[in-house]
């Protein structure tokens, strides 16, 4: 067979009437798509290198560039789509596993788009959030099943059991785990600062906490994953909460690998590993082969942090998610993070990302129901993650039973990401998934934080509008309130698992 041709996904269209040959595109593209030929004084583009990140298009001062999908057609084939043909071409060339970044891009049924929300009419007035208070304040952590107090005198009570070690959020949305290493320090700083300013939390991921992020530590959830990078007592004590990462939605059952060439001085310091060595997170924790081992780690962390911080566990949503979550709660976790099949990543094997796990909507519904059936729902909060893309998804997830939602991809999109899915190459033109200082300085952390704050603010306003419409003025009255949801185009089984009625059914 002849040498496989380079696969060209995108075509760069340059409007010569607009182009002023400033060569900005040449200078910015980390994929080296654009070049300037001195002799002919022409700007050239190597389409086959383009990943479709749109950075050049956005930065071009005269709007001369347009990135288009390559129209070159193979014969239409519903089974052998171009994507699968390309995969085989690539693999028969390299003999390797195909990698990818970000979340699942396959068309699995999106249950959020098959659930509609309620609104109050006549018998129940809707509430205008611009005129009336509308409360989104949320807490994460274990709570007792009843209050224990002492009555000192009429109308004066003191608590006998304090419940102070909870996370306190002003909006039920947090930034999910993204490590320094998988993303740039400027991206980390943008997230950390935005969480700090918006009254929510960010998550270090499994990369330790860089010293420049210490000022935002009180709003940090620190992660302990199978590689244990950057973990020491100070790391745990500095944080607001600790999350043990067992799995992640984009790659359930799979570990992580930060190649040595990316382990720079700063990353080596933060992760506490020698410069230039591969940072490998094994698939399992090698000290957790069972639920009782997990319990030991949970309590080891609680001991170290004097039982002052919530300790949670993050798992990927898989078939047995409800019993697993129940076990985790019984093992002492104060929150359970469930990451669905659409969850993002910096790098994952393509077949794993696209084929393993279950949608977060179903996972949240069955976990919430399971914990209630066992009477332990009060013992842990449920954090849902995995592809949340609009405030409506968040409202629906909370109505299904989630306490809080993590966003990752949505936050990165706010920072410029165009979902080219090439994070693993380390050549992110937007300065997010890269450690190249030429690229990372493109992301100004102050501006990044401002954009993230804007996003959270906008979503908070939308959530309040939806709540008010339902005649509800506190988010806790929505939580697990599945009467506010109705299904459309769902089977009996799906309705049963989601615990909702079909549209048209009254209370």
């Amino acid at each position: 067979m002849a040498k496989a041709k380079n696969i060209t996904e995108f075509i760069i269209e340059r409007d010569e009437r607009r182009c002023i040959k400033c060569q900005a595109c040449v200078r910015v593209c980390a994929s080296d798509v654009h070049s300037y030929d001195d002799e002919s004084q022409e700007l050239l583009s190597d389409n086959s290198r383009c990943v479709g990140c749109h950075f050049c298009e956005d930065i071009c001062p005269t709007g001369a560039l347009t990135i288009k999908r390559n129209p070159s057609a193979t014969k239409d084939n519903a089974h052998w789509t171009r994507d699968y043909i390309y995969r085989i071409v690539k693999q028969s060339t390299t003999g390797g596993i195909l990698l990818t970044g970000m979340g699942n891009d396959k068309q699995y049924k999106n249950y959020f788009e098959h659930m509609v929300l309620n609104a109050a009419q006549v018998t129940n007035p809707s509430i205008d959030p611009l005129r009336e208070p509308m409360e989104l304040r949320t807490f994460i952590g274990r709570r007792p099943d009843r209050i224990r107090y002492e009555k000192i005198k009429e109308n004066k009570y003191i608590l006998k059991e304090s419940i102070s070690n909870l996370l306190h959020l002003e909006i039920p949305v947090m930034f999910s785990a993204m490590s320094f290493g998988s993303i740039s320090l400027n991206a980390c700083k943008s997230l950390a600062k935005a969480a700090f300013l918006s009254g929510t939390y960010w998550n270090t991921g499994e990369g330790g906490m860089h010293r420049n992020l210490y000022p935002y530590a009180e709003r940090a959830i620190v992660q302990i994953a199978s590689g244990r990078f950057g973990v020491n007592t100070e790391y745990l004590e500095r944080a607001a909460a600790v999350e043990i990462k067992i799995g992640q939605g984009a790659k359930p059952g799979i570990g992580g690998h930060l190649p040595g060439e990316k382990v720079s001085e700063e990353i080596s310091l933060t992760r506490m590993i020698p410069e230039g060595t591969d940072a490998i997170s094994p698939a399992p924790h090698h000290d957790i082969y069972s639920i009782e081992d997990l319990r030991q780690l949970i309590f080891a962390i609680k001991e170290v942090t004097s039982y002052k911080k919530p300790v949670g566990v993050k798992i990927a949503a898989v078939h047995n998610v409800a019993p697993i979550a129940s076990g985790i709660v019984r093992a002492g976790a104060d929150f359970v993070t469930i990451d669905g099949i659409r969850g993002g990543t910096g790098a994952a094997p393509l077949v794993i990302r696209d084929n393993v796990g279950i949608p977060i909507e179903l996972a949240v519904a069955v976990v919430d129901q399971r914990l209630r059936d066992e009477g332990i729902r009060n013992q842990a909060s449920i954090i849902a993650a995995g592809g949340f893309k609009t405030s409506a998804d968040i409202v629906k997830a909370i109505a299904l039973g989630a306490d809080v939602v993590y966003i990752g991809s949505a936050a990165l999109i706010a920072l410029g990401c165009h979902l080219c899915q090439k994070c693993y190459t380390g050549k992110c033109n937007w300065g997010i998934a890269t450690q190249d200082s030429y690229l990372t300085k493109r992301l100004n952390p102050d501006i990044g934080a401002e954009r993230l704050c804007n996003l959270l603010k906008a979503w908070a306003l939308e959530i309040k509008e939806m709540l008010g419409g339902m005649g509800i003025n506190a988010i806790e009255s929505l939580r697990g309130n599945r009467e506010q949801l109705r299904g459309i185009d769902l089977t009996e089984t799906e309705l049963k698992l989601l615990g909702i009625k079909y549209a048209g059914e009254a209370w």
Partner: protein
Amino acid sequence: MEYQQLKFFEKNNRIPGGCGVAGIVNVKGNLFSGENIITSICTMNERGNGLGAGYAGYGIYPEFKDNWCFHIMYDDIRAKEIVEDFLEDGFDIVNEEPIPVHRVKTLQYIPLLYRYFIDIKRDKNSQELYDQQEYILSTIMKINKNFDGAYVFSSGKNMGIFKGVGEPEEIGDFYRISDYKGYIWTAHNRFPTNTVGWWGGAHPFGILDWSVVHNGEISSYGINRRYLENAGYYCTLFTDTEVITYLFDLLYRRHQLDFNIIGNILSSPFWEMIDREEKEKMEFLKALRIIYAPALLNGPFAIIVANSDTVIGLNDRIKLRPLVSAERGDFVYLASEESAIRCVCKLPENVWMPEAGEPVVVQIKRV
């Protein structure tokens, strides 16, 4: 619709609606006739549509004050026989009779109405019984859930609930409410937003010696119900009012909280207010909201809840439904509208509108 269909429909559908509520209390526990409560509730006929009314009276059965009293409605004799067999198993039936009624021509679909004054059998007492009230509760849950055509609509001691489908004056006349004497009377005038004909769907709703009359709709119903199911309360009727009743039972009887605390749970203050309190109170209110988040009642409501010793009036957090209180002498009045108070108490000493979420707690202090 046929009666059976109607009943099925009402029993399995949640029916929101507007309504009128009223309550009259003698704080010293002195008995007075039910006449005034009829006058009071009938003043607010604008608030009902003739599809439901009811009364609850406390202190009305002094001759059987130590017996549990079940009011049961039956669809037919067969249901009655089955339930009576079941009751005889666990209880000594001290007295059994049809509830005395006047014939009112305009009333339809009248079920068989019986009342039973009963004692829990001694052997039951000694064995499985650690708590009489829990036993009564589970008995009611069993009858209402499992026995078709039978429904226990009142189950306290020395108190009774009387309700049906009709205008409040018809129902009051039918049950001969003015023949009874009680120290607490509450009443309800219903405006359900569906055409329904099942007598069990009217208010007051009661369990043990609780009775609840309710005007409003609970938007948090979905989560309140799931929270209660965890605690062993099964909502067989799918009404908001049922949820309120069970919440009171759970919080007051099982969790032993006082009514101010219950008010702060069901109709909690806003965070904005809580944040401004001094530290100790702030911590307490914060803990309440966090622990009892699924018990928060959201949506418009005005309720009058009573048990043998207390009457509580409560509004939702932003007072979306009316509730007025007044006092004169030993009497305290609660109603949806002031007119319903002034028609039975010309010159009240004190009339006030309770603030949103602030319970009016009337404690009976017997002399």
